[in-house]
């Protein structure tokens, strides 16, 4: 099975980057492609729990929950979480480190960076 990985940098509710990652991941899943997402720097906040539902705004927490439920491998930079005080993240998102980026680069057929 082909694999695509994303190195993702953006926190939620400031730009469309989280939505972009989610939609690209969904499109890849629809084609039977395995998806991995590494949340780096502010992106670790995109998978925080208890994000408020706001009408007309895409709820990023829910989107990531759906991706994980569909088998997407979501990893979080542990150091980035520590410096931001990010604690409560959605179930299934795994704490990780920069060596995981090396592993993903090695194992993936395509590697995209989304700011």
């Amino acid at each position: 099975m082909a694999t695509i990985s994303f190195l993702f940098f953006s926190g939620p509710y400031q730009s469309e980057s989280p939505e972009t990652v989610v939609e690209l991941a969904k499109a890849a899943l629809a084609k039977g492609i395995k998806v991995k997402i590494f949340c780096y720097m502010d992106a670790v906040n995109s998978v925080m729990t208890v994000q408020k539902e706001v009408p007309g705004v895409t709820n990023i927490e829910k989107q990531f929950r759906d991706l994980i439920a569909k088998g997407v491998d979501v990893r979080l930079c542990t150091l980035c979480m520590l410096v931001r005080g990010t604690k409560d993240v959605i179930e299934g998102a795994q704490k990780a480190g920069t060596p995981d980026i090396a592993e993903m680069a090695e194992e993936s057929d395509r590697f995209l960076v989304i700011f």
Binding site: M41, T98, I101, A102, A105, E106, V113
Partner: protein, 117 residues
């Protein structure tokens, strides 16, 4: 065949952590066929007078690998980016290599994975 990795540093060390984080990732992928390529405002991170508190240890690791048989990881600076900013090769720290813009583009173009910071 091992994948060719480029860690592409584009941003100034002033106002963001991107160069420091990019070099942290460069350390993580340094056992692969990796080059650090520096373009645009990223060149400011390698000036002699730059405050390297946040990434000095990464630079030290990259220039002096722990394993004796490992080659130092190459940090390649885009000459055009230097000239555009009125900078010269002599303004840069040791252990970096200045390359013509065409060579920089070729290296980026040949990479299997480009990790942009």
């Amino acid at each position: 065949m091992p994948k060719k990795i480029v860690v592409l540093l584009r941003k100034s060390p002033h106002g963001s952590l991107f160069p420091a984080e990019g070099l942290r990732v460069a350390v993580a992928v340094s056992t692969m066929d990796t080059k650090v390529v520096v373009i645009g405002d990223g060149v400011y991170a390698f000036l002699k007078e730059a405050d390297m508190t946040l990434y000095k240890r990464h630079l030290d690791f990259l220039s002096r690998p722990m394993l004796e048989e490992a080659a130092p990881l190459m940090i390649l600076i885009d000459k055009a980016s230097l000239l555009e900013r009125g900078l010269k090769e002599e303004d840069l720290i040791e252990n970096v290599t200045v390359k013509d813009h065409g060579e920089i583009l070729k290296i980026i173009g040949e990479a299997d994975v480009t990790l942009t910071f």
